[in-house]
Symmetry: C2
Subunit: 419 residues, 2 copies
């Protein structure tokens, strides 16, 4: 497995101008979003670019929860700019958009669908060389700085999908916990839930040696390989940090220790799931986000309705892990224990219920909306949610337990109300 380069430390962002000099960059594309463009993380980057005389153009039009249209807009900017390096400052939306911009600007004759995951796109392997991309995450959630995945909302199908290739993995991730101090409470919470699910899903994913098809040539193997002894280390370590620090990070913006640890946990879980993959919480989350009606979450300063990614992922987690525990109950029980459950008298066959119950308590304590119903869905929406999950084979096939349409339908139904 390949792992990204990351650099960690308070204030390390100020070195980015030197990194770009070392790369010999002469025309840099700096990507961010409108909110962040006014905030300290972007300022820190701008100061360093100025100090080291780096020539750049800024694109601050990234859409939070990007779409094919917003990707195409960023790609157009990148093609026109003829950049020789990219810097992404933001959460997963910014980093993912920047990956796509770098990819298509480096492969200018490709059709947009060429690299989009099959069966929605053609899922072609990336063979063109890309420009260096330095990612500076400002949330503690996606781990996008360590992965070769870029997710977007494909509007005409009303479904999230993405591009997955080792080729789009950032050259360097700069993990500077100072940036997490700008995050409002719900962004800390929702991005933290994404870390939680990355860790839980990659730890419970289908083992690497049971995945099929298993192409004989290593070059044809997917980025998501199934759970393995290396991703397990990252998943468990990230889960332990979530258990210890997520609540503290949400409740107290001044708790630098907690926020710094969650920032690292995001990268750790990213390295884990970037190799092992995720499964049903993520697969089912894409239609939950894609079909959003009028939900507008607290603390997100945007003009469109959206279900934040971490929230769309975590709301189905109690149902999903009840369902998957049948396959690796001992791993589910271990995860429950890490998250605080007392398992001394637990029966292994109850592992799924115990983990689900632990998750429900965790979410209740953190004021999470009470299930899919609370964000605007009803039973009538279930067929559409199921239909939107079916094309997410890239991840749903990594579920340890295969699932029918009826199973998916039951999982959505069980997620309507959590408490």
């Amino acid at each position: 497995m390949a792992i990204s380069n990351i650099r960690y430390g308070e204030g390390v962002t100020k070195e980015i101008g030197m990194d770009l000099q070392n790369l010999g960059a002469r025309r840099v594309c700096l990507m961010t979003d409108k909110n962040l463009s006014q905030l300290p993380p972007v300022n820190a980057v701008l100061n360093s670019l100025a100090k080291y005389g780096i020539n750049f153009q800024m694109y601050d039009n990234v859409r939070v929860e990007p779409t094919d249209q917003s990707f195409l807009d960023a790609i157009k900017f990148a093609k026109k700019g003829e950049f020789d390096a990219y810097v992404a400052v933001g959460g997963g939306s910014v980093i993912d958009t920047c990956k796509a911009a770098n990819l298509y600007a480096s492969s200018p004759t490709s059709d947009f669908l060429d690299y989009v995951n099959a069966p929605i796109g053609k899922g072609k392997p990336v063979t063109v060389p890309l420009k260096p991309l330095i990612a500076v995450p400002t949330t503690a959630g996606t781990g996008s700085e360590t992965t070769g995945v870029a997710i977007f909302d494909f509007k005409q199908l009303k479904v999230k999908t993405g591009i997955a290739s080792r080729a789009i993995k950032p050259t360097l991730g700069i993990i500077d916990p100072l940036h997490t101090l700008s995050m409002p409470e719900r962004i800390v919470a929702n991005s933290g839930f994404d870390v939680l699910c990355h860790a839980l899903e990659s730890y419970t994913a289908l083992p690497y040696n049971m995945r099929s098809p298993c192409p004989s040539n290593p070059i044809n193997r997917p980025a998501y390989q199934g759970s393995n002894p290396i991703s397990d280390v990252w998943a468990l370590h990230a889960l332990r940090i979530v258990a210890k620090y997520l609540k503290r990070a949400i409740r107290n913006p001044e708790d630098r220790e907690a926020r710094a640890n969650m920032h690292l946990a995001s990268a750790f879980a990213g390295i884990g799931f970037g190799n092992a993959g995720v499964h049903l919480c993520h697969g089912m989350s894409y239609p939950i986000s894609g079909l959003v009606k009028t939900y507008k979450p607290k603390d997100y300063n945007v003009d469109h309705s959206l279900v934040p990614h971490g929230l769309s992922v975590v709301l189905t987690s109690p149902a999903v892990f009840t369902f998957t525990a049948q396959i690796h109950p001992e791993r589910h029980l271990e995860a429950a224990e890490i998250l605080g459950a007392d398992i001394r008298t637990a029966r292994i066959k109850d592992a799924g219920f115990i983990l689900a119950d632990t998750l429900r308590k965790f979410l209740f304590d953190l004021n999470v909306d009470d299930g899919l119903a609370a964000i605007g869905y009803s039973k009538a929406d279930i067929p559409a949610l199921v239909k939107g999950t079916l094309p997410q084979e890239r991840v749903t096939k990594l579920s340890p337990r295969p699932q029918t349409e009826e199973d998916l339908s039951a999982l959505f139904e069980a997620s309507m109300k959590l408490y």
Copy 2:
């Protein structure tokens, strides 16, 4: 931090011909040693090269515990062969020799000392592009498949030193636990002690943010960065595996679970120390190996006297950790607990003694020679051992506690007898 690519699984060696095809390799240099050239790991590689029609030349003249002369011989072979890819099949000696061969064949006008660590060599940064190198480790110890370090015995100074650069890190490490089944008992033990010390030293190394000098430009920072939150994960995980499996792997060659886990632990500890660094056990081990008199270890089929690397490292470990515990006693106590000590009533100020005592018991149980005296050293050798340690600044500076010549002298003296 950068981490190598590794692939893990029983039998994955058979894919190496495809990997070389994917790399477009037309002239491959296969390096190994005389013993291994007759054993299953090399056979597995040869079969795969034949199956995929890979053109190669074999160099099987690698010296176990290599010297500057043996490096130069391999370099000469590499220069003459004009290879476009390298495959190293063996323990640290083979992989390190292959790294050096690749480096100097890629930089043919360089003087040998140019890249050797200062102050012994010039320690120049590597700026030439190297050819791909695939490492297939056959011991469970060095973790060389994951690091940018190549160690050799510099004969005229009677001291071990090396080359350290991210540029010489293998492109891919193939961790195939089948190969560990060929290892005789003492090779399992000694290479396992190397893993043990990699984990203990990198976990207790000077923290990354206390190291000096700290070059402002990231490109000038050393490969060994000091202990950090990422290397800590690997060090602790490797230590837990050593605690659980090393004795089993040594005692029972048929215990595939134990041998496979130690094979992975070697790579894990390598990723950890390859970023954090090691300190006094390693720094002091180089003269212990370099000044060897007549010691010939069991199970090593060689015609020269040698102190196996893992043995030279572990013999000073009780003394070293007693000395360093003054700085991070809680980490030393944690390590002792992982290795089996009952620390419920332990006092933090006794952490060093407790870890040392745990290590002594561990080594006694595994029939390790009773200290430096048992491998041929006496008090009269201490000045020479100290003198051989002084140039090892690359690692000794990473000790959490600075040390004078008197301190080193006392550490060697305390290591003369263990039990």
